[in-house]
Symmetry: C2
Subunit: 268 residues, 2 copies
DNA sequence: TAAAAAGTTCCAATTATTGAAACTTGGTTT
DNA sequence: AAACCAAGTTTCAATAATTGGAACTTTTTA
């Protein structure tokens, strides 16, 4: 809830203000920001002015309120296109969702959290930002556990201590030891479950998306409700999901490093 | 193509770097940025480091490339939710798309450009470059013209000179005089056409979304191809679209200013 | 109408930014 | 294998920006 105190100079502080506005989730008055800001009035005021000038915040002069600006939406579209798996995985995911007839999620790690970058719902197709951009906990979601299970120890040591281990349901893993054990199981098994650990009645199977070299790029999950399917029924879909995950991993490598061919030519 | 030279202190300069990276549309090396940056090496280097620390850029240590970071996607989700019409208009647009059986776009102005914030495609996706977060020209799109037609003169004087007036098709309006005349027609008519002005074979009708007080909040369009429908056929949909636009405008006012009722009560 | 709160500006002390240059690293050529 | 080149990274004193207390103006509340 408190500010980051990121330390990254002026730019870091200004970006903290952005997060603060985002946290409100609604247009916010200057005084409201001031009340819980570590910065003195004049400093915060200049930040807010600068960000507004820059289009990162929008100002409603009738109500004197600030909200996140449209420049962010524009930038995010570019971010989504160039640094997420979503555009690469797009067609693969659609096909997967059609085949399995259940909701498919595509996620990546964002610091210690899970960031959903795409979603395919066979019932009703939805627009991009409504779903993409949402964040969730890593320790109690299928995609989160799938990614962590294949991360190197160094990354895990950063990420695991940042988990809240809040008990959402009776089945939520609520401490590091239980999570570590689960991650080992997942690695052995080759995929992760979410057995109602985040939401009662919601289960999923998830697989990591690995680059050919074995780096964790993201994760893929198929979600359903206990009313529709059992975990063992979900498990039968794993080979199909694995196919999709592998194909995305390969494509991602090719897409991100398209110049390796011309480079080899030069070398020859 | 050149940098903004925004002037807004350190923060503005750093944000310019973000735009620069976005403009590449692919992971970019430090040297590539340096080559066309107004900042000296060390300065640019620190910007890029700061932005990476902050999660606004992501760094691929295997390839030494920078891309837009996932924090942007997260922030944009919040921006989309709190400062765009999209969440308000969501259900209305879905219903409209179902009723008319054609692609529906929801757009807002972003400086002098059109920002598409949502899209609903009932059936086969026609090949077009438009998605949430994408920007387009104002002078040759239905939504752009619809918004401009109801803007105050002051805003127009800012926006119109910034139009490129690039000729996309033989029917594109290519100067301010033609555009001004068209805007007057649109105001009289009550809605805007896009008669293959941006893409050959693509036509649409567009209506502004106005607040009850008459402020331009955005625009709504129904798009099709000349192969499917004629302009006059499209025109028959206008009353239905108008209904949708009005309802969104009313809802938006209520949502953005939910306390105006209690205020009137207090005043009375 | 008065009082209080919110929003805005000012300016000297402070602090961070700046950028030329030196240094390190990784890869390519001789 | 050594030398070379280019890309990436760090250093540090001069410079220029940020900082924040306080005063000021505007808007809201009593």
């Amino acid at each position: 809830m408190a500010a980051n105190a990121s330390g990254d100079g002026t730019v870091g502080k200004a970006l903290d203000v952005l997060d603060q506005v985002a946290a409100f989730g609604r247009p916010v008055r200057f005084a409201e920001l001031q009340a819980e800001s570590p910065f003195p009035k004049a400093t915060l005021y200049r930040f807010v002015q600068t960000l507004t000038n820059q289009g990162m915040l929008s100002f409603d002069r009738e109500r004197n309120t600030y909200a996140l600006g449209v420049r962010l939406v524009r930038l995010a579209h570019a971010a989504w296109e160039q640094s997420s798996l979503a555009p690469i995985a797009r067609d693969e995911i659609s096909r997967l969702a059609d085949d399995v007839g259940e909701t498919v999620h595509l996620a990546q790690m964002d610091h210690a959290q899970v960031l959903y970058v795409d979603k395919r719902d066979p019932e009703r197709p939805v627009a991009m930002f409504s779903q993409a951009g949402k964040v969730g906990p890593a320790y109690c979601t299928g995609v989160g556990k799938a990614m962590m299970a294949w991360l190197d120890e160094e990354s895990l040591c950063r990420i695991v201590p940042q988990q809240s281990f809040h008990r959402f349901t009776p089945k939520t893993l609520t401490n590091e030891i239980a999570l570590r054990k689960e991650l080992a199981n997942i690695r052995d098994r080759g995929f992760a479950y979410d057995d109602e650990e985040h939401e009662p009645g919601i289960i999923c199977v998830a697989l990591p998306i690995l680059s050919p070299r074995g780096r964790v790029l993201g994760a893929l999950s198929v979600t359903t409700s206990t009313a529709r399917k059992s975990l063992s029924e979900l498990e039968t879909l794993v080979p199909r999901i694995r196919l999709c995950a592998q194909s995305i991993g390969t494509e991602a490598e090719a897409w991100r490093f398209p110049d390796q061919i011309s480079k080899e030519v030069r070398t020859a």
